[in-house]
């Protein structure tokens, strides 16, 4: 059986674009024909579920039944993506340690990756330091997300590099800004980026989104996926899964 892959997308600070990155990631795996499911930890309402309703469950990651729902069922699909709500990243990592998940990942029985979305403040760099203690055997991606017009002005490059080097093998991913109106229209349409580009409504019927806005989204998503390719995101997926995907 292929080794399950678990990807956490998180940041302790809110409004840095975690869900946007998760959506791009889900589209990326779908485009590569990798069976993927997602958990939206914005319980009870959920945000991610609005864009990927077929593959997303809303959970409370702090509750034991929901932790069981996620981690006792990892074998049902190849990739599990968890969009961790603001403020819960450290708690979630501690929980993963406590249930023995991190130990299992250390023994390479599970592939574990973390997408850490960085905000513009120094606090974001300090988060790296805290998170690093849990991540010794995980694939660690530091994501600079410019989608919200973030400027990262507070960072001194030397300081950033100092934090960055604390995590062995960490990869940096840059998510560029998406045209504001395009971003807003995808939100209003409540569909995945790929559906918006393909001019499809939430129920799969043809929509009438602006060609210009679809073009902006297509261009942006292509750039983000190129970053995922460059950083080796598909390499997280185990060779067994890659062989299955290639055979499909």
């Amino acid at each position: 059986m292929a080794k399950p892959v678990v990807i956490l997308v998180g940041a302790d600070k809110g409004g840095v674009g975690k869900t946007t990155v998760t959506r791009a990631l889900l589209d990326y795996f779908t485009a590569h024909n990798v069976p993927t499911r997602a958990f939206d930890t914005e319980a009870p309402k959920g945000t991610l579920k609005r864009f990927h309703p077929d593959i997303t469950d809303v959970v409370d990651v702090t509750s034991t039944p929901d932790q069981m729902k996620i981690f006792d069922t990892l074998a049902v699909t190849d990739v599990t993506v968890i969009d961790v709500r603001a403020g819960l990243l450290a708690t979630t990592l501690r929980m993963l340690r406590d249930i023995g998940f991190l130990e299992t990942a250390k023994k390479h029985q599970i592939a574990f990756a973390m997408f850490h979305i960085l905000g513009p403040s120094i606090a974001s760099l300090e988060e790296i330091s805290e998170t690093a203690t849990f991540m010794s055997d995980a694939n660690y991606f530091l994501v600079k997300n410019f989608i919200n017009n973030t400027t990262f002005f507070e960072w001194d490059p030397a300081t950033y590099n100092n934090y960055f080097k604390k995590i062995k093998g960490a990869q940096e991913i840059t998510v560029p800004k998406l045209n504001e109106m395009a971003c807003e229209q995808v939100e209003l349409a409540s569909v995945s980026f790929v559906s918006f580009v393909a001019n499809k409504a939430a129920n799969g019927s043809p929509a009438s989104y602006s060609f210009v806005l679809r073009g902006y989204v297509r261009h942006w998503l292509g750039t983000v996926w190129a970053e995922f390719d460059r950083a080796g995101v598909m390499d997280i997926v185990t060779p067994e899964v890659q062989r299955k995907v290639a055979a499909r």
Binding site: A31, N179, E180, M181, A182, V194, V197, A198, N199, K200, P206, S210, F211, V212, L213, R214, G215, Y216, R218, H219, L221, G222, W225
Partner: protein, 247 residues
């Protein structure tokens, strides 16, 4: 890997929609005159045409041909949608864009970002760039850049004898494929003045009388023949892949 849905908007093979983009990175080289002449040509050929004036400093084309021309502004996303969402419709209606020099870079950046070229190809839309070829370094570089950015697009140099710069060799402007440069012959000052104050030549009695002068008719005939030849060459380009010897 990213694909757009286009089935519902794809034009039938026998009906293509031309989009002529008249441009130059320089001011005062005759772009509006050429755009206007294209509208005249299409109208004289009984074809419906929509023109777009992108000259924020001076909307001359919109003033001369108000019934056929819309003012466009691509400074913000709404304006970009208003323009490009019309240019990408495969409705058989010919479009002419009079692209002011100040909008040159922005227009083509947007076109590249939204992957207009690929989508146009899927929908049976034929964009043609008519580039007013002035023999200065900036123009030559801009022309080369366009060829690099839009390798599949038809880019045609236009040599305007009436432009400000004296005629010099335009060796830096090689047209794509089997296209040949267009030559705008020199216009006498009197005819130029007539054109500058007239609306669509076939639209009113006064304009018809201006149009009926032998000199203007002869001048227009030379131009219209070149436009016709350009369209034939574009059709031939489109047919080439279907010909056994054309591969």
């Amino acid at each position: 890997m990213l694909q757009s849905e286009s089935r519902e908007t794809t034009a039938p093979m026998d009906r293509q929609t031309p989009v002529f983009i008249v441009c130059s990175p320089l001011p005062h080289v005759g772009k509006t005159l050429i755009a206007r002449l294209l509208v005249e040509y299409l109208h004289a050929d009984d074809r419906a045409v929509a023109a777009f004036d992108l000259n924020p400093d001076d909307y001359t084309l919109a003033a001369l041909l108000p019934e056929h021309t819309a003012i466009a502004n691509i400074a913000d996303t709404k304006g970009q949608m208003a323009l490009f969402d019309q240019l990408i419709v495969a409705d058989g209606l010919a479009k002419v864009v009079d692209l002011g020099y100040a909008c040159f870079e922005r227009f083509f950046s947007i076109m590249q970002d939204i992957e207009f070229e690929a989508e146009a190809q899927k929908r049976g839309i034929v964009p043609v760039i008519l580039f007013v070829a002035e023999p200065d370094t900036h123009s030559i570089q801009a022309y080369g850049n366009l060829q690099d950015r839009f390798p599949e697009l038809s880019i045609v140099p236009v040599l305007n004898a009436g432009a400000g710069t004296p005629m010099r060799p335009r060796s830096g402007f090689k047209p794509n494929y089997a296209l040949i440069p267009l030559h705008i012959p020199l216009l006498t000052p009197a005819l130029k003045a007539t054109l500058q104050r007239s609306g669509l030549l076939s639209a009113s009695a006064d304009n018809v009388s201006a149009y009926n002068t032998a000199e203007l008719r002869a001048w227009l005939r030379r131009l219209f023949l070149q436009f016709r030849e350009l369209e034939l060459r574009l059709m031939l380009e489109a047919l080439m892949p279907t010909l056994k010897f054309g591969a």
